[in-house]
């Protein structure tokens, strides 16, 4: 593909490719007598799908791959996303016929391998988090959050308590707040203090008997360990509220501390972050929930239990909140995460958290001369800078991000967490080498200089990409959300 073609990819969709009458797949003849067809009134006239040959399809999608940045092509320091390397072996393992070609409703005696794997994974995740029971049902982090909050709700209702509020720090990820609403609760923000911890005074003020839970991300989205955690747990529990951990950032804590030991009652994990399953451009993931014993009876259905003869069965927890998905969760993702834990063991997990944290602190050390650090502390797995110094030169964080593209890097997460002005949130992960971090820091330092000397270079970046500064405002104002035939458009 020439550069020109690369730039023009967007103008030709599958519907514009191919020709009437083409197809990419041959199908067998019908080997049974034909049945009478249903009444024509039940049938569709037109099936307006693309008509492409197999070579065209392969070419189209192969060429699209060269337009995507990915962990497999470069450093992806997107904060709060844990873009670590995804082992290729695990992709092969998840595709083993005994995993990929198994129907979810097969008789239980024909799926003992799958159930054993799920049971073991439940146990491994419980051990890692220091919790007592695990549900593998949720399909992603936010799904796990919802499951957790509904589980807590069911627990409290079972105790005859009907509470209406959930506390969420102002640094929280958007899913936390949205989850609270989706679960039918009222959301109460809690301020952070000057050290980036939960403000205990604010917490004390907000905390009453109507509070169901506090959703705390640990380390929080500033990449910091909440130094008040012990008090927070105590305060919550004194009011009969539950302490929930958004475990999306667990990569920092693997084998360093068990979430359960810190007083948390429930935690959701993102297997597609911490446990190295690939992000897929936005999923699939899996968001298992681990809970203390008192919450276990309320977990969603099913969980896997081992029975007397050593075999495995699906069970519905006694007072389950019910089902959160059609079947048993994202099994294919579980296989990968299971493989990951088995490949590392306890020492390997510890090496992960150590290296992840070391890498983030190295970025902090190398870049602090050029970028403002809103909280003067060492970080854990990620570091959040502020682009405020650059903004003074008329350069925005988004300009820095776009300029990084010219240097061949994926930009960090920007403008999040909201409590940091012009936030630049960088999570290097443990699978990046020092050389890569050095190259990235060099680019960031060069950009800081450019911001001083040639700010226009940043404001018009990227210069070296197939497309530059797409019109997002226009896209939202006049949404074009699908291909349309010329005559309909």
């Amino acid at each position: 593909m020439s550069d020109g073609e690369r730039r023009d990819m967007g103008s030709k969709l599958s519907f514009d490719r191919g020709r009437p009458g083409r197809t990419a797949v041959t199908l067998p003849d019908c080997d049974v007598p034909l049945a009478e067809m249903p009444s024509p009134s039940l049938l569709r006239d037109d099936l307006p799908l693309p008509e492409m040959s197999q070579p065209e399809i392969v070419r189209y999608f192969t060429n699209l791959t060269c337009l995507n940045y990915s962990v497999d092509t470069g450093f992806y320091p997107l904060g709060s996303c844990t873009m670590k390397y995804n082992p290729k072996l695990h992709e092969d393992l998840a595709r083993l016929s005994g995993f990929a070609q198994v129907h979810p409703l097969q008789p239980v005696e024909t799926v003992q391998g799958a159930l054993a794997l799920m049971h073991e994974l439940q146990g491994l995740l419980a051990e890692i988090t220091g919790m007592h029971a695990v549900s593998l049902a949720p399909a992603a982090g936010a799904h796990g959050e919802l499951t957790s909050i509904l589980t807590v709700r069911a627990y409290l209702e079972h105790r005859g308590e009907s509470r209406h509020k959930v506390l969420v720090p102002d640094s929280a990820h958007g899913t936390n707040l949205a989850t609270v609403s989706t679960a039918g609760f009222q959301c109460l923000p809690i301020a952070s203090d000057a050290r980036g911890n939960t403000d205990l005074a604010a917490l004390a003020e907000a905390l009453d008997e109507d509070v169901t839970a506090l959703m705390l991300t640990l380390p929080n989205t500033l990449g910091l360990f909440d130094q008040n955690i012990v008090q927070i747990a105590q305060m919550l529990h004194e009011k009969g509220a539950q302490l929930y951990c958004d475990g999306a950032n667990l990569n920092a804590l693997l084998a360093q501390v068990k979430i359960g030991d810190l007083g948390f009652d429930v935690v959701q994990m993102n297997l597609h972050k911490t446990f190295s399953t690939p992000h897929g451009g936005g999923g699939p993931g899996a968001g298992p929930v681990a809970v203390k014993a008192h919450l276990a009876p309320f977990l969603p259905s099913p969980v896997v239990a081992q029975v007397a003869d050593g075999g495995y069965v699906f069970e519905e927890p006694k007072s389950s909140i019910g089902k959160v998905g059609a079947f048993h969760g994202n099994f294919g993702i579980m296989v990968r995460a299971y493989a990951y834990v088995r490949s590392l063991g306890a020492a390997g997990l510890r090496e992960v958290s150590e290296s992840a944290v070391l890498n983030a602190n190295y970025l902090l050390a190398c870049l602090r001369q050029a970028y403002d650090l809103p909280y003067e502390r060492r970080c854990l797995h990620e570091v959040v800078f502020s682009g405020s110094r650059q903004r003074a030169k008329g350069v925005h964080t988004s300009d820095i991000a776009k300029r990084l593209i010219d240097y061949g890097f994926h930009p960090p997460t920007v403008y999040f967490p909201l409590i940091v002005d012009e936030a630049l949130m960088m999570e290097p992960t443990e699978t990046e080498s020092k050389e890569t971090l050095d190259a990235f820091c060099e680019a960031m330092l060069a950009i800081a200089r450019e911001a001083e000397e040639e700010p226009e270079l940043l404001r018009s970046a990227p210069h070296d990409a197939s497309l530059r500064r797409l019109d997002e405002a226009g896209a939202a104002r006049h949404p074009v959300l699908r291909w349309q035939r010329e005559d309909q458009a």
Partner: protein
């Protein structure tokens, strides 16, 4: 997978100015630091391969076993191009496409997916996908609540029981009553935000979707239809019979069964409801040089912008499965999808005819079915299935709780005539 060597580590610690990595974790309360973790010892790639192959071998793969299960997850032939594309690291190891300049591969393929779902369902707009069909339905119900401002949900009793349960779980949070109604006379009132209809229904048969549409709209409720996507290869799309929201399980479109997931929920609606839609949307736009490109759009509906007022809490969805569906639909295309649907139809009817002719067996339901149908067995379906399994066949789903003696049998293009005949012979023996 940790590249840094001890030498690297030392240099980095020096730069950071701490003596050991341990010092970086000082904020963790001492009482619980460095816990004892009891995990199995690490395995090398070679050992891991053996271990997981061993576990996989304890499952009965339906690549080797004739299987007549459906009920929400379907075995179809997946052309090799599908897995070839979704295995590509550039797709598989990218994040949600927040930086459009370097994410056009993902963005364009989401736009393709949205377009294909629209064409398939006959609807105006579709999103980038939901977790699965069931949670998509739950979100559709919440969306109906938002749009209508009403507070009751109505589902037909013939909707997949699993889906009903997921709707209840989601409804619980908002204390929304869920009314279950029979297809022939749903008693809707002006309290109902929606009527949910599955087509074909859980038992494989077509509902009278036009009559139901009239009923729903007459009550001012939104009409939510849950079609089986392969059936849309031949049957009328919900957009043609007045659906307001269409959700579906996308698995049959090129996603492997994988013991139940990951799958992908399809979600489509009418243009006027876009801003109440949950999930991610990609829009077409231009860059500064006038070139066509794609961006995430209407993000003000989403959690990362709208936070507690978002239309859903969904963030990571099932993009790679959506990509599989995209490639699958492109590969089968207009002709292929219809042909697969027809193969399923004919084979299922052949099987149904032959089973109905067996003494002791009957088809308790009347009407038009697609690829699934209920067989009334002369013995409890549980026993019949056990006897089938002894003969190396995985039978249909036991639905005797809903339909006396009922087994829900599914036949797709993957079931050869030989397999079907084998099933019929086995049923004859078992029923004798």
């Amino acid at each position: 997978y940790v590249p840094n060597t001890d030498a690297d580590r030392r240099a980095m610690l020096e730069r950071i100015g701490v003596a050991s990595v341990d010092a970086l974790f000082d904020d963790i309360p001492a009482y619980c630091r460095n816990p004892r973790l009891t995990l199995p010892p690490p395995l090398s790639e070679m050992e891991l391969t053996r271990e997981l192959s061993r576990i996989a071998a304890r499952n009965r793969s339906i690549a080797e076993t004739p299987c007549f299960l459906g009920a929400g997850a379907y075995r179809h032939f997946i052309p090799s191009v599908v897995d070839y594309v979704i295995r590509q690291g550039a797709f598989a190891t990218a994040y949600t496409p927040y930086q459009p300049e370097i994410s056009q591969g993902t963005l364009q393929s989401i736009f393709e997916f949205q377009s294909l779902v629209c064409e398939l369902t006959g609807m105006d707009v579709a999103n980038a996908g939901m977790y699965d069909g069931a949670s998509a339905l739950a979100e559709a119900c919440l969306m109906a609540i938002r749009i209508t401002g009403r507070e009751r949900l109505a589902l037909l009793s013939t909707v997949n029981p699993s889906y009903q349960r997921v709707v209840r779980t989601y409804a619980e949070g908002h204390a929304l009553p869920v009314d279950v109604m029979t297809p022939d006379g749903p008693a809707l009132s002006e309290k109902h935000a929606c009527l949910v209809v599955q087509q074909p229904n859980f038992f494989g048969y077509l509902e009278d979707v036009e009559e139901l549409e009239r009923r729903a709209h007459a009550a001012g409720a939104l009409y939510i239809v849950v079609p089986e996507p392969m059936s849309l290869g031949m049957f009328r799309p919900p957009g043609e019979y007045g659906a307001d929201i269409v959700v579906a399980e996308g698995q049959p479109l090129g996603v492997p069964l994988s013991f139940g997931g990951p799958y992908v929920g399809l979600f489509a609606t009418r243009r006027e409801h876009i801003r109440q839609m949950p999930g991610r949307l990609v829009g077409q736009t231009k860059d500064v040089d006038g070139r066509t490109g794609y961006v995430l759009t209407l993000q003000t509906r989403e959690q990362h912008i709208r936070r507690e007022r978002a239309t859903s809490n969904i963030c990571t969805n099932e993009q790679l499965c959506a990509l599989a569906a995209t490639v699958y639909l492109c590969a089968l295309g207009k002709q292929g999808l219809r042909r697969v649907a027809e193969l399923c139809y004919h084979k299922a009817h052949y099987a149904a005819d032959r089973i109905a002719a067996l003494s002791g067996y009957s088809l308790p339901l009347a009407g038009t079915f697609f690829q699934e149908f209920v067989v009334r067995c002369p013995r409890p379906p549980r026993e019949v299935n056990a006897a089938l399994l002894e003969r190396g066949i995985i039978g249909g789903l036991d639905v005797s709780e809903q339909i006396g003696g009922g087994m829900l049998v599914c036949v797709t293009e993957m079931n050869s005539r030989e397999e079907i005949d084998w099933l019929v012979d086995a049923l004859r023996e078992i029923g004798a």
